[in-house]
Amino acid sequence: MNVGKTSLLHRYMDRTFKDTISTVGGAFFLKQWGPYHISIWDTAGREQFHGLGSMYCRGAAAVILTYDVTSWQSLAELEERFLSLTDTAHHDCIYAIVGNKADLTDTNAQLAQDSDGHSGDSDSLERTDEQVLSACPTPPASPVSLSGLMPHKQVTHEDAVALYGRILRYKGLEETSSLPAEKMCFETSAKTGYNVDTLFETLFDLVLPSILRKRNENQGCTVNLEDSRGGGGSKRSRSGCC
């Protein structure tokens, strides 16, 4: 069910990968970026909290849409369920599409990128967060049955790029005047830290000029960096590979 939004943020903010529990409602982080504070909302992915998404997105300068690279459905749900939540974002909001859990399918991503991360050790395949199982009643797949198998990568980079194009169309944006898809589609691993800093730092650098411009126009504007999520996909991926 989880695509790993909270884990991504923990990796970026605390430089660690720890067990997270399913986010209740939403969580809020402040990141010091140079002389500025950037507020980042970590949204709840559960259906129950779906309605709150548009609140968090309101006036956001950037939205990170996260899916699970081992779950085609998580990408599909991004488009079906979560894209509409971003309607409340600022009109020149930028969108990043992030495929998390890349360590499961890509050996490059198994190498830790920062000192305190685990390198791709043998149990990296057993990526079955306990809360995933408890939060999702249907999949009975045990962690053991997964070990030794490389989950099939269900979402390719091209799929993400295509989604990005559709998002631009949905938003009524010209592809030529928007940021290119190659720049805005990432594959990350919160577990190893792969690409995580790159993701956030790229976004901050892109977003800061427009925030400053907005602030000059309108004093006291707050900035939300919003994590939307795709959910429910891991169920399918598990059954697919077992």
Binding site: G25, L52, M55, G59, T222
Partner: protein, 870 residues
């Protein structure tokens, strides 16, 4: 988890309200200052006076005194009550009818003007009114039938409709702040600006399933019950600026009492922090019915009784957190409370909390965090030092602050006797003190800090001990001495004495270490260190006092005290005479010192030079008596000879007298004769006694150096004469041939120093030219050269002379013009030839006339030269 942030205190007991009537329940409450109003389901209003009493132990209790109760006559429950204290009115909602009653008499007040407002489901009062009139209350009213919100203003006896706005769905709960209505509709929440009509959907919510909550918590910010049992925050722009709190699904009332969100459900009061969204406290509360805050006071009611939720003082909450070692939460709470506490008080509180937090982390050996907190909290470092037994100097005036920042008596208590822990704590203190000692943190307690650091360094055998003592420090001497002695840090102790201006004590200490009386292996080169120290010591008494010890130890190094003494203006200069007198008994040192004076400092004093020469001589003589080491002797003689040759300041006669009788030192004697310009004696010794021709030649070169050519020549001729002198003067065993060869060599080698003509005259006739070819060749070439050079010089001089004459002429004269038309002054005939003679005054005459006139003139000879001036 739990923090004790609040206490539930009963305010109105059941007895006061309904006695034992089981069916009567509380429906609504209102509190305004000490006035408490309770509305019941049997249409009564009860008015109490609520007195707050604090017991001597600080415990708060409430005493409710019933003032009045009044039946409203509608037989329906009183569903809402709001006080408008400025108007002395209560706004009541009962049976869908909104009306005013007097706050004191509880009598209904006719709402003049319009009819009673009917069909009302809910209303709220604007706590941030847009109208500035204090005697006017604004309220928003929801009706049961219409999808509208009505805005009324309430005056003392009049209720007036101001505005009516439509809503997309039936509203069921409302809150008002300024122009912003926060509404719970049947399927969602929304913000509606009743002035502009602009609306902002917030999020969906099914008000059929759960009672919605819209609670204004501060200016333009609302707290809403969200799906999934969340407490969501939203501001008037529809943006959430705080993360939600996680309530239960069945919350029926909520309020904010900063920094906490208090919520009531059927069985519990839950208290979440707005700062970290965590659940902090849960209080069991049965039959909970109402939770409301009135002017910052949170009041709850069950169906039968009223309670006040009293917040514990913030400081106590923080202390509770600290007591349970929840440092992070305590700090978050403190920082979060910043805006509720006056700035100066906050600063004091915050510092103290940081310090306490630091000590907690310190006790858990989390040194990094502890250090941060000590720093940020501006901890008096002595608080930390005082944990370590005996570190603070006895003279320190420090006492720990009260109330104490931590619970520990000392480090042993903290570490519970674990030596490993103690050691880590000590290492931490070392690094911490090392870092802070140069900052302003230690202002006013530098002695204490430095002394503590010194003790730690000594105890831990830390290398920085010497750095500390070598730099500017404030270690207390009396306290440090026994400590350093205890750990055998005698070298360091010496440094400490030195820092305190007790150089004598320092040297005493060090000399004892060098002598082996005390054991300290800090420096293996301590002796050299002492010598260096004495070199730079400004106190001469000290130098005299310890020089003896140093010289006894090692004269060659000891003498550095005098020779390497850094000359500077601040330092008193040592008088060389005093030093020489002093060094009398240390002959080796004396020699070195004199060498230093004469050879290095080049002091031009006869006394030193003579003294040094005599010392050299004595040494040579000594060695001659016991000729064991050839090399040593050669060495000594070379020194003596060099001295005799180089210096010209010693008393030659005196030395000569000393070696007159020594046949082994002929070379030296020759040198001395040379000094006296007695070259013949010197050469005689060299040639006839020593038969050392190279030395004789060297002597000539030496004696002739820096002399004019004539004396050079003389000296060389002298040697030549000695060589060519009468053979019978030579001592036996040597023949004239050898001398002659020496003479030939001399001539061939130093031909330029001789007058060739004189040489040729005295040379024996039998010598072949071949023998002297180099000399003769060179001599001829030299004289040729001289001849030509002088010719050139003559030529040059002449041309110069001519040039000068020419110049002179040009200066003095115009040309003398002669022509065939001009006549000679003497014969008056014209000139026919260019040859003329000028008379003085430049008058041209015929040559023969001029000659004639000279012949006739008595002074003819004087004029003969003045011809040829054409």
């Amino acid at each position: 988890m739990s923090v004790k942030a609040f206490e539930l205190v009963p305010a109105v007991e059941r007895d006061l309200l309904m006695g034992d009537k089981a069916r009567i329940n509380i429906e609504c409450i209102e509190c305004c200052g000490k006035q408490l109003y309770v509305g019941t389901n049997d249409c009564f209003i009860h008015h109490f006076l609520l007195d707050e009493v604090t017991s001597s132990k600080g415990k708060l209790t409430y005493f409710a005194q019933k003032l009045l109760h009044k039946y409203l006559g509608l037989k329906k429950p009183v569903s809402e009550l709001r006080a408008a204290s400025a108007l002395q009115r209560l706004i009541m909602l009962c049976d869908g009818i909104l009306f005013l009653v007097d706050m004191v008499s509880l009598e209904t007040v006719p709402s003049g003007g319009g009819a009673k407002i009917r069909g009302v489901t809910a209303f709220c009062v604007n706590e941030n009114p847009v109208d500035g009139d204090p005697f006017c209350v604004e309220m928003a009213v929801l009706s049961s039938k219409r999808r509208t919100v009505q805005i009324y203003t309430v005056n003392k006896d009049r209720v007036q409709l101001v505005k009516e706005v439509n809503t997309p769905e039936q509203p069921c709960a409302v809150s008002l702040d300024g122009y912003f209505l926060c509404l719970a509709l049947s399927t969602q929440y929304m913000i509606l600006n009743y002035n502009t009509g602009a609306s902002q959907d917030l999020f969906p919510y099914n008000s059929e399933e759960r009672t919605p909550i819209v609670k204004r918590i501060s200016r333009e910010e609302f707290l809403l019950a969200a799906p999934g049992g969340l407490g969501m925050f939203a501001n008037s722009e529809g943006v959430s600026q705080r993360a939600p709190v996680n309530w239960s699904e069945s919350v029926i009332g909520a309020a904010v009492c900063f920094p906490y969100v208090v919520a009531l459900d059927e069985n519990f009061i839950t208290i979440h922090s707005m700062l970290d969204q965590q659940l902090k406290q849960t209080l069991s509360f049965r039959d909970g019915h109402i939770l409301q805050d009135f002017e910052g006071k949170v009041i709850l009611a069950s169906t039968k009784a009223v309670y006040v939720l009293v917040p514990l003082p913030l400081e106590r909450q923080i202390q509770d957190l600290l007591a349970s070692h929840r440092v992070e939460e305590a700090l978050i709470l403190t920082e979060g409370a910043q805006r509720n506490i006056p700035k100066d008080r906050f600063q004091i509180l915050y510092k103290r909390i940081l310090q306490q937090a630091g000590f907690i982390q310190f006790s858990q050996l989390q040194f990094h965090e502890a250090k941060d907190h000590f720093r940020k909290g501006h901890l008096d470092v002595r608080e930390l030092i005082s944990l370590y037994p005996l570190l603070l100097p006895a003279s320190s005036s420090f006492t720990r602050c009260h109330p104490p920042l931590h619970e520990f008596a000392d480090l042993n208590h903290l570490a519970q006797g674990d030596p490993e822990k103690v050691l880590r704590c000590k290492k931490f203190l070392i690094s911490y003190l090392g870092e802070v000692r140069s900052t302003e943190v230690v202002n006013g307690c530098r002695e204490d800090v430095d002394t503590a650091l010194l003790k730690l360094y000594a105890e831990q055998d830390h290398a920085s001990l010497l750095d500390l003592l070598a730099s500017d420090n404030a270690c207390v001497l009396a306290d440090s001495v026994p400590w350093l002695e205890k750990y055998h840090k005698y070298f360091a102790l010496g440094l400490l004495y030195h820092c305190n201006g007790q150089d004598s004590a320092a040297l005493q200490m060090w000399t004892r270490v060098v002598d082996g009386d005390l054991q300290d292996h800090t420096r293996s080169d301590l002796y050299e260190y002492i010598v260096d120290f004495l070199c730079s010591a400004s106190n001469l008494d000290l130098v005299w006092k310890f020089a003896d010890w140093a010289l006894h130890k090692d004269p060659t190094i000891g003498v550095h005290i005098f020779t390497k003494r850094i000359a500077s203006k601040v330092q008193a200069e040592l008088n060389p005479d005093d030093v020489i007198n002093y060094l009398g008994k240390h002959s080796q040192a004396l020699l070195l010192y004199l060498e230093h004076l004469v050879l290095e400092r080049r002091i031009k004093k006869e006394k030193f030079h003579t003294h040094l020469a005599v010392l050299y001589l004595e040494r040579v003589l000594l060695l001659l008596k016991s000729p064991t080491d050839e090399e040593q002797l050669t060495n000594a003689r070379e020194r003596l000879q060099a001295m005799l040759r180089e210096s010209s300041l010693y008393r030659v006669q005196f030395l000569l007298g000393k070696i007159e009788n020594c046949e082994q030192l002929l070379l030296e004697r020759a040198t001395l004769h040379g000094k006296l310009e007695e070259h013949d004696k010197a050469l005689h010794i060299l040639v006839h006694k020593l038969r050392d021709f190279p030395s004789a030649e060297a002597y000539c070169l030496w004696a002739a150096s820096s002399r004019d050519a004539a004396s050079r020549q003389q000296i060389f001729h002298l040697l030549l004469q000695v060589y060519l002198g009468k053979p019978q003067m030579a001592p036996d065993g040597c023949n004239g041939g050898e001398m002659e060869m020496a003479a030939v060599d001399l001539l061939n080698r130093h031909g330029e120093a001789f007058d060739a003509v004189r040489v040729l005259k005295i040379l024996p006739d039998g010598w072949s030219l071949q023998l002297l070819k180099p000399f003769v060749g060179r001599a001829i070439r030299a004289s040729m050269h001289a001849c030509r050079t002088s010719q050139i010089a003559v030529g040059l001089a002449r041309s110069e002379n001519l040039q000068l004459l020419h110049d002179r002429l040009k200066e003095r004269k115009k040309p003398i013009v002669i022509s065939e038309k001009k006549g000679c002054h003497l014969c008056h005939n014209t000139f026919s030839e260019p040859d003329v003679v000028c008379l003085p005054g430049g008058v041209p005459v015929h040559t023969h006339c001029g000659a004639q006139r000279i012949r006739d003139s008595p002074t003819k000879r004087q004029l003969t030269n003045s011809s040829n001036h054409t």
